[in-house]
């Protein structure tokens, strides 16, 4: 402690105040600036909205993941849950527009239930969340492929896809979903006693128990919130790009990356909503930037990995 304080003592006051701002905002600004410098078209309204639209599923999912990470866990099941929900909806709807809202409600219900099961397993069977949700990942992946016969079946009607695909006056509907979801998540996390208890459970579950917090209930609720976010992400993603058996692949790791980039600490107790949304956006902006620069896919993976490690290392030093 003393070493750190001496070190910070030598820094100018103004710089100290800058350090209080989450670094993800600087990273995001830097990436967007690089995008605009490489191709000024990204200053235009249309291309910017496109970027926001395609980032929407990840932004929602990362916020859900944040709740679980703050509570001290991981949710690896969300990627498979997304695929599962998309396959089920396609089977159920099969181009039938009248059932669209029923299907969205069903997604939400299944998402909440899947999260509740994860939470119950973690809380009462004492299975570490990384294993519990890994198991759920496999169950949902296998279950989805089994029910659909290994290949996508059925079509999604335009009414179902509108949330992820349509725009209102050039403003993507999916972005409205993100704003509403983000605002609700922010209120829950930062303005309710549930939110305060979630941070307590994450930073010190023993102390939380002793002070009368229902640790199991809080954890279950966090996983349910993550399941809900996967359900919303599934409707946005399938709206954007349609049905496939690999739709949600890799989304669990992207969501964790986005949350970590946004300053969430993996062992729990720290993180907030807006930096995590910025983290998700930064990841997508980074993919776009590397594409503008003509980096092939394997190189994009390498750079993405390096940047995530650097960002987390920087956050760790910053504490």
């Amino acid at each position: 402690m003393s070493i750190i304080s001496t070190k910070s003592g030598t820094l100018p006051k103004r710089f100290l105040r800058l350090r209080a701002i989450e670094p993800i905002y600087f990273i995001l600004i830097a990436i967007v600036a690089a995008m605009v410098l490489s191709n000024p078209i990204y200053l235009d309204y249309g291309p910017m909205m496109q970027l926001l639209r395609r980032s929407s599923p990840l932004m929602v999912l990362a916020v859900g993941q944040l709740f679980v990470i703050v509570s001290g866990g991981f949710d690896l099941a969300v990627g498979s849950l997304i695929t599962f929900l998309i396959l089920i909806c396609a089977l159920l709807l099969n181009g039938n527009p009248e059932l669209a809202y029923f299907a969205i409600a069903l997604c939400v219900l299944v998402g909440l239930m899947s999260g509740a099961v994860n939470g119950l397993i973690v809380s009462f069977w004492k299975v570490p969340s990384i294993i519990a949700t890994l198991g759920m990942l496999l169950i949902l992946r296998g279950g989805g492929l089994y029910m659909s016969g290994g290949s996508a079946r059925g079509n999604l009607p335009d009414t179902f896809r509108a949330l992820g695909r349509d725009s209102v006056f050039g403003f993507p509907v999916s972005l409205i979903v993100v704003i509403v979801f983000g605002a609700v998540a922010w209120l829950i996390l930062h303005r309710t006693s549930f939110g305060r208890q979630l941070y307590m459970v994450g930073s010190n579950p023993r102390a939380a128990t002793l002070s009368g917090v229902n640790v199991a209930g809080i954890r279950i609720a966090a996983f349910m919130f993550s399941g809900l976010s996967a359900a919303i992400a599934a409707t946005l993603l399938s709206g954007f790009s349609g049905v496939s058996t690999s739709a949600g692949d890799g989304y669990e790791l992207q969501a964790i990356s986005a949350a970590v980039l946004g300053g969430a600490v993996l062992l729990g107790g720290r993180g907030s909503v807006f930096p995590v949304i910025a983290g998700a956006l930064a990841l997508h902006a980074l993919f776009t930037l590397l594409n503008i620069w003509g980096f092939p896919k394997p190189m994009r993976d390498v750079v993405q990995g390096l940047i995530i490690i650097c960002a987390v290392a920087y956050s760790a030093r910053r504490k």
């Binding site: 395609r54 290949s151 079946r153 739709a247 750079v303 650097c310 290392a313």
Partner: protein, 382 residues
């Protein structure tokens, strides 16, 4: 700050890795001029056999004698499958199961699932051999080089049939394949060049590097594009067969180049997602190439697009079973390579192949329309 230092060294690391990548790419040159020319010639040839049953046709007049394998009565067919991890394999495998029901000389059909892993499939083949139950062995190799020794071991014990992907040995009784990937890629590329005006921008979308059946498609197309001064290849990108990635790439290229005149694709699973990128931006859909998936054919028809769909027919899964029963009867079988026809869907034949009651990722060239379980088994409805 550490971050700053890291950013400084990033370009160096990036450069080093990209050098290594390009060196790898040089090594993996999949182009074979003689084979390419042979495929192009074959594409225009007339196949031998009943045109109503393309899965029984052969592009060449060469046969192998199998009388030494003749079995009195019914036999057991074993199948080492590479795995079922994409819709092409799903459609093919369902067709295969239906074909088996048509043959009285198949006593038992034993399948192992390689789960897309070389080591698992090698072990599967060895287990099947050790069981001594098999009279004929079918193999869809997961990768060419890794499975070749296992197939050679099998050849020493029983008749082998390879299809879907190849092995580097001629020991199997026959290798069943459509005309080939060079013909596929070249046909799509030529179509684009004929359809485009001077100075057209072409974007190529590919699934992933390193798979022979896909690399041959691209290597043929790449050469045609490079040799044609009137068009400009603005990029070739990997979609990983992910619809969201495909759509995002197209959106980005539309921003960067303002105009895309044609999209060449090495496979059709993400064609519709790529088309939607143009729709959502309110831009005219350019010239497209795809494959025989129903969602692409339906979109093509609906939007009256300028498009072409070369195919890699799933009916070859029927052919494999038929060849196995021919071996059990000791009949001659086209070999050492059984070249099947490789029909191409054009504007003229589009209506014939569009099937509104089949699932979006159903392949039109399954050759399964006349089978007993059609269409329900393939996920369709009457």
């Amino acid at each position: 700050m550490s971050l700053k230092r890291t950013f400084k060294c990033l370009p160096v690391a990036a450069f080093a890795v990209s050098m290594a990548m390009s060196a790898l790419a040089e090594d993996a040159d999949f182009f074979d001029q003689a084979e390419h020319d042979r495929q192009i010639a074959m594409l225009g040839a007339t196949p031998i056999g009943d045109p109503a049953k393309p899965w029984l046709q052969s592009m060449t007049d060469n046969f192998r004698d199998t009388s030494k394998y003749k079995k009195n009565g019914a036999g057991t067919i074993c199948f080492s499958n590479a795995g079922i991890f994409n819709p092409w394999q799903v459609v093919g495998y369902k067709t295969m199961r239906e074909e088996i029901k048509l043959h009285s000389n198949i006593k038992e059909f034993i399948v192992t699932d390689g789960e897309g892993k070389d080591d698992k499939q090698i072990a599967d083949i060895d287990d099947l051999l050790a069981s001594k139950k098999c009279d004929v062995l079918l193999v869809t190799p997961n990768t060419t080089a890794a499975l070749t020794p296992a197939v050679e071991r099998a050849c020493a014990q029983l008749p082998v049939i390879v299809f879907s992907r190849g092995v580097a040995t001629e020991c199997p009784v026959t290798f069943i394949t459509p005309v080939g990937g060079y013909a596929f890629g070249a046909q799509a590329a030529r179509f684009i060049i004929d359809a485009l005006p001077e100075g057209g921008n072409v974007l190529a979308l590919r699934i992933a590097p390193g798979v022979d059946v896909l690399e041959t498609r691209w290597s043929a197309a790449e050469r045609i594009f490079a040799a044609e001064p009137k068009i400009k290849l603005i990029g070739s990108e990997f979609t990983n067969d992910d619809r969201a990635i495909a759509k995002s790439i197209v959106e980005d290229y539309l921003q960067r180049f303002n105009k895309i005149d044609a999209v060449w694709m090495d496979a059709g699973a993400t064609s519709v997602a790529a088309i939607e990128a143009f729709e959502d931006l309110g831009v005219d859909i350019p010239v497209f190439t795809g494959e025989d998936q129903q969602d692409f054919l339906a979109k093509w028809k609906e939007k009256n697009m300028t498009a072409i769909a070369p195919t890699y027919p799933t009916f070859q899964w029927r052919t494999a079973i038929i060849a196995a029963t021919q071996i059990l009867r000791g009949e001659k079988v086209p070999g050492p390579i059984w070249y099947l026809p490789q029909p191409t869907i054009t504007a003229d034949t589009l209506s014939k192949y569009t099937q509104a009651t089949m699932p979006p990722q159903h392949y039109a060239l399954c050759g399964c329309e006349g089978m007993a379980g059609y269409p329900e088994v393939w996920g369709g409805w009457k």
